[in-house]
């Protein structure tokens, strides 16, 4: 036999403190909601997968590239510095129009003078196979070719 032992309740009305607390927190939530009605969500980061291109990034758009530089994982700024001027073993990304400063990229730039930056950022194509990446991720795993072009356009504008 199962023993039935109900739990009683002392009061049936709503205590004043309950009403006060609930109304206060609801007001806080309402203020937050009202002050965050407009805006745009950033792109969802899918590790190890191709992210969809953000709206308006049909071609190489430096503005989209600037946004992507801070939102890819890891962010370019995490290694190359907040202003992309480099630091430690990580080279500056200013002046990429003049060619690579790193020794390991000279041959790539010679073989592919027009798109060596794209190939290097992508990192998943046969052209960059065997080149020491020095810890740099292959962003081709999470960015579309258009997105990489946008980043290249932004870097060339620096």
């Amino acid at each position: 036999m199962t023993i039935h032992t109900p739990i009683e309740t002392r009061g049936s009305g709503i205590p004043a403190w309950v009403i006060g607390l609930t109304v206060f927190v609801l007001l806080v939530g309402g203020v937050y909601l009202a002050s965050n009605l407009a805006g745009e969500n950033p792109a969802f980061a899918i590790p190890g997968a191709s992210a969809p291109a953000p709206e308006g990034s049909g071609g190489a758009d430096p503005a989209v590239g600037e946004q992507l530089i801070g939102s890819v994982t890891p962010a370019c700024t995490a290694c190359h510095g907040a202003d992309l001027s480099g630091g430690g073993n990580f080279p500056s990304l200013h002046g990429v129009n003049d060619g690579p400063v790193s020794e390991n990229l000279q041959q790539l730039a010679t073989d592919h003078p027009d798109d060596w930056i794209h190939l290097w950022i992508d990192g998943t194509t046969p052209e960059t196979e065997g080149i020491d990446r020095g810890g740099m991720p292959a962003f081709g795993e999470q960015l579309s070719p258009d997105q990489i072009d946008s980043i290249v356009a932004y870097l060339k504008s620096l």
Binding site: T2, I3, G11, Y32, E40
Partner: protein
């Protein structure tokens, strides 16, 4: 059995012989399922805490193992991410979910007055859930990981096994409690929504896995569904069961009626509305309207309401029995759980603010909050229920001893230290990333935080071992005891009540 030497047993007539105990192949006594789930949960706790300590340790000293096993190009891979996934799954699906099932099997009959429906089938649920989980845990080290979230990392057939287990438990609960729900105590309402949410979410996850496997779904919708699932499951299933347990054990241990039924109902209603809505905050993508994620963030903030109402209501219920808090027992476990519940609700609310979320998202902060929530709030609530229920299930006079004290203080200290260290590390990490620190510099700066977190989580691992030993000694050494129903709930001694 004592034998009288003057009586020849061979001359006893059949009706003089003591009745033989008949044992069935599948045990079906009352509380069999609850006891089974508790024991399995304790084993998962020991494994989960060991994995947690290893996962944090791998952030301090990084190493990877990859060894081909020579079959189907499979390789055994051990690295930080795989151990972290195993830790999260062992915690959520292994330890806390099994305690949730045990709570359903223990609380429901006592509040409804009906024997649990399909109690034998619950043992099948135990097998289905834990068998699938064990398989999934092994596969985590061999298969390609689902990249979206730890809780959706298993292949679809493992999710199917888990959904089957959830279906049986949900069926048993509905059949037992359906007739009593309308007038039932608030714990039953929490359990009802929690178990049906678990069933729905696990079915959705298994279904998505099947579609992904055979129909090649787009990456983004699947990733967003995973992100939604990862927030919704703890908010609906684990938080719901924590509320159900706390509303059950506190009046029982205080031996007093619940202070306010209306406040408890309001807590249930606000949790019912805000918990599922809070998962919308995870759908961060330009394809999702901004207002949807804002509503999710607002709901996360408003989840403070049920937490506040519960803490206030249960504190008022304890009124006049404060001395219970200073002992080692159910009340102390529940009180610490309530403190963590309040703390994590406030921290989740702060973390939901867009400005804060943008800084701490993806940092160690999230792991610290995970430890506070899982090993502070939920684990202490689970310990409270185990301390109350296990002596009743095993029919032993036991409780409040040295090992219970070890469980309480090790879990409390370990979760506090481990969680705080990781949350502090997360804030430092956010500041360093904003300053453009390199990955090497980040690792060096975070080392001290992670080392402290490792030590802290080691204490939680010890509390898991203490729980196992406590249960073992309770079964093997404690005196048998009968737990009878009180004539009046306010007059009977707590130790003798159900």
């Amino acid at each position: 059995m004592t034998v009288n030497p003057r009586v020849n047993p061979k001359k006893l007539r059949p009706y003089d012989e003591p009745p033989k105990r008949r044992r069935t192949l599948i045990p079906d006594g009352p509380d069999t399922a609850a006891g089974g789930f508790f024991i399995v949960a304790a084993l998962w706790l020991a494994l989960a805490t060991a994995l947690g300590a290893l996962a944090i340790g791998l952030r301090v000293i990084t190493f990877e193992i990859k060894a081909p096993i020579g079959i189907f190009d499979l390789a055994f891979e051990l690295n930080e991410r795989r151990v972290e996934y195993a830790f999260v799954n062992a915690t959520v699906y292994g330890w806390l979910s099994n305690v949730g099932f045990a709570a359903i099997a223990f609380i429901t009959p006592r509040l409804t007055g009906h024997r649990l429906a399909m109690e034998k089938m619950l043992l099948l649920a135990l097998l289905a859930w834990n068998g699938a989980l064990a398989l999934g845990m092994v596969l985590l080290y061999f298969l390609d990981l689902n990249p979206h979230s730890a809780l959706t990392a298993f292949p679809w057939f493992v999710d199917g096994g888990l959904a089957t287990g959830a279906l049986i438990v949900a069926g048993s609960f509905v059949l037992t409690a359906a007739s009593s729900l309308r007038t039932g105590y608030v714990s039953l309402w929490f359990i009802g929504v929690a178990i049906l949410s678990l069933l729905g979410l696990m079915s959705l996850n298994a279904g998505l896995g099947i579609f992904e496997q055979f129909l090649n779904l787009d990456e983004l919708p699947t990733a967003l569904a995973s992100a939604f699932f990862e927030v919704a499951l703890p908010a609906m299933w684990l938080l719901g069961m924590a509320f159900a347990i706390l509303y059950y054990v506190v009046p029982r241990t205080a031996n007093q009626p619940l202070a306010s039924g209306a406040a408890a109902l309001l807590a249930w209603l606000t949790w019912l509305v805000f918990a599922p809505a809070s998962a919308l905050a995870a759908l961060v993508d330009p394809s999702v309207p901004f207002i949807v994620t804002t509503l999710g963030g607002t709901a996360t903030i408003l989840l403070v309401v049920p937490a506040l109402l519960t803490v206030g209501n249960l504190a008022a219920t304890m009124s006049g029995r404060w001395t219970l808090l200073f002992g080692i027992g159910v009340a102390a476990f529940a009180a610490v759980s309530l403190v963590f519940l309040m703390g994590t609700s406030l921290l989740e609310a702060i973390g939901a603010l867009r400005a804060v979320d943008a800084r701490v998202s993806g940092t160690d902060w999230e792991d610290g909050l995970f430890i506070w929530t899982m090993y502070g709030t939920f684990t202490l609530a689970a310990f409270a229920l185990a301390e109350h229920a296990m002596p009743r299930i095993l029919r032993r006079a036991w409780g409040g001893g040295l090992l219970s004290g070890a469980q309480l203080w090790l879990a409390f200290g370990g979760a506090t230290i481990g969680g705080l260290a990781l949350m502090g590390g997360g804030l430092a990490q956010a500041a360093l990333i904003a300053g453009g620190a390199t990955p090497d510099a980040l690792s060096a700066e975070l080392l001290i935080y992670r080392a402290i977190a490792f030590a802290g989580f080691g204490l939680v691992a010890l509390s898991g071992i203490a729980m196992l030993v406590n249960m073992f000694l309770m079964y093997t050494t404690a005196e048998p005891a009968q737990y009878v129903a009180p004539v009046g709930s306010a007059s009977a001694p707590a130790a003798a009540s159900h």
